[in-house]
Symmetry: C2
């Protein structure tokens, strides 16, 4: 499950909501070179690494995707995702728009969700509300322009108006995606095999 949004779109809070809602969802930790914000825990919220460490991970092919966003590097360690999948849980990744597209290309089975604030006013309020400096708000809004252009390549669009509602919708998408025929070919095969064996 890949959740993406313009900066301030609420991907982090939606992810937290999902994890609280159902134990089948698990956080796949991203690594980043951006400075830690107050309250963030290393290894839990992010793996905070230096630019040097990041480049090493990238060169060694340890990252599923990576991107430079607002001057900082972000990357998804392959290990984090595999660890979650091996436990039979659904890895929830919150990554930027470019990263989301890379993951979808590598893993077409990934489900990509684009979170959109109900309107621009709300997005600006959220960015200011989390204490971004005016020049940072401007940078993020400019980035949002180009992010919006590729939103159409995502599988689902969820309007993040009410947080509980957005969380409920993303969870329902994950649930229903398990009913996709492409994910259930074993069941079709098993029924077909019963039919072939039967003398009619």
């Amino acid at each position: 499950m890949v959740i993406s949004a313009p900066s301030g779109g609420g991907k982090t809070v939606v992810r937290s909501g999902l994890l609280k809602l159902n134990k089948k969802f698990a956080f796949s930790v991203t690594c980043t070179t951006r400075p830690r914000r107050p309250g963030e825990v290393d290894g839990k919220d992010y793996f905070f690494v230096t630019v040097e460490q990041f480049q090493r991970l990238r060169k060694d092919g340890k990252l599923l995707e990576w991107a430079k966003v607002h001057g900082n590097y972000y990357g998804t360690p392959v290990k984090s995702v595999m660890a979650v999948l091996q436990k039979g849980r659904i890895p929830v990744m919150t990554i930027d728009v470019k990263g989301a597209r890379s993951v979808k290309k590598l893993f077409p089975a990934a489900v990509t969700v684009f979170l959109l604030p109900p309107d621009l006013k709300t997005l600006v309020q959220r960015l200011r509300g989390r204490g971004e400096a005016p020049e940072n708000v401007a940078v993020r809004l400019r980035t949002a322009r180009s992010e919006l252009k590729v939103a159409s390549t995502f599988d689902y669009l969820v309007i993040n108006d009410s947080l509980p509602e957005a969380v409920r919708e993303v969870a329902a998408i994950a649930e229903l995606e398990t009913r996709r025929t492409a994910r259930n070919l074993d069941k079709v095969e098993s029924f077909g095999s019963q039919l072939r064996k039967k003398k009619i």
Copy 2:
């Protein structure tokens, strides 16, 4: 919403369940040359037509899809579907596997669901339970073999074990499909336009 299943798979009862569950679903009536079964109402369950009338509709391009199944013709009048769409409701079509694929080809926006009984034993019981003669049961099981082969081309697979559960799942699929980005490009465009207009 196109619901398909092997004969005896329960497409008719699932459709009835959907229509009872929510008024947004509406029945798009199929026409058929097969004899009316006890309790079936012309113009409600099917439009019962002669082979001659059917061929006329077909030649005049009035059918969205048509197929010959077990010696009888079945077809979806374009008019039935359009009437439902124009009311802003979701047309629910229960058609055979071949017809479902034709509709999907013509309307990629159609959502196709393949209903599968939990196992072969249940399918045989259901066919016998509705009073099919043993030779008809055999014919339907043979048809099911080839139908299963194309099940993988459907969007969703729903195991029809418990009827209320299957109905709930198909309704949830319809609900979540409205969140597909491809069906919400207007919302993406509207937000993008707000961003472009804003001086940053």
